[in-house]
């Protein structure tokens, strides 16, 4: 995995995130009642969830790769992407709660999408508990990879289907398509899409750092075994 050592995409991450801060605070936004300036949270809160879904997607891809190849390396990829995905999910939830306090009135209003994302995160917490409960590396990798597939398959209806079937405070829910002209205008798009790429790349960067450290650990353990 030579690309994880390359520098250019990390510089790109830095540029995108710094642009997100400057553009996110300074570029014009739609003047909407209740939302007011808090609409700028779009560039910071929503990319957490996009990043989480993308990282969980990469994680489940590697879980399937592990199940078909049996290479433990794939399991290391899978679990580390899931870890950073969960981190982004927690940050997404916290940022959403702070924002909701001042716009929806309550930190937690039992909104369908809030509840569904909480359930989704709990499912992923259970993934880590499951991994922690198994000592044998191969068993751990096999069982948790299978679990990972089910966890991801549960997350899709939880986040993208169920909240749309009922009324939700979240934009794009309650029967509406994801983003329409009222939800996202051209001013917001100038920052929002690049913000998603930037935050997701940051998550990938952190995940690959953890993967590389895992790999170093394994190599050291192998050496110690050889010496013993």
């Amino acid at each position: 995995m030579a690309w994880t050592r390359k520098k250019w995409w990390k510089v790109l991450t830095a540029v995108l995130l710094l642009y997100t801060v400057v553009g996110g605070f300074l570029l014009p936004v739609p003047r909407l009642p209740i939302l007011n300036e808090t609409i700028r949270a779009l560039h910071f809160h929503v990319p957490m969830w996009f990043g989480m879904i993308i990282l969980f997607g990469i994680s489940v891809f590697h879980a399937i790769q592990f199940l078909s190849s049996g290479k433990l390396e794939q399991d290391s990829f899978s679990t580390n992407y899931a870890k950073i995905g969960t981190l982004l999910g927690i940050l997404g939830m916290l940022t959403g709660m702070v924002w909701a306090k001042f716009t929806w009135g309550e930190m937690w209003s039992g909104d369908p999408k809030q509840n569904a994302s909480a359930i989704g995160l709990l499912i992923y917490f259970a993934y880590f508990v499951l991994r922690g409960a198994i000592d044998d590396e191969n068993q751990k990798a096999k069982i948790s990879s299978v679990y990972n597939v089910f966890a991801f398959a549960t997350l899709i209806p939880l986040l993208f289907i169920l909240p749309r079937l009922t009324d939700s405070l979240h934009p794009g829910n309650g029967g509406n398509p994801g983003f329409n002209a009222y939800d996202l205008d051209n001013d917001l798009r100038k920052v929002f899409y690049l913000a998603i790429i930037g935050w997701t790349l940051l998550g990938v960067w952190f995940a690959t750092l953890k993967i590389r450290i895992d790999h170093i650990n394994e190599k050291i353990e192998d050496k110690e075994m050889a010496h013993a």
Partner: protein, 81 residues
Amino acid sequence: MRKLKIKKWLTLSALMLLAEVVFAASKQAVEMADELRADGKIYVVVAVVLVLVGGLIFYAFRIDKKVTSLEDRLNESDHDQ
């Protein structure tokens, strides 16, 4: 008859113009941080957050460098054996 039509047309356009003005006014009435922007104080906020994000990214680069050098050390000791 013709006069009436013109009158109708004039009333309609006047009403539409009024609606447009009211709509624009209601849009402007939404409270935003215009004062903060006019003062230029918003740049202070942006500068503070830039320093924070920049510092954190710089730190991530440092960690990345450390990991790279560890990998290199391990690979070198592989060749020694």
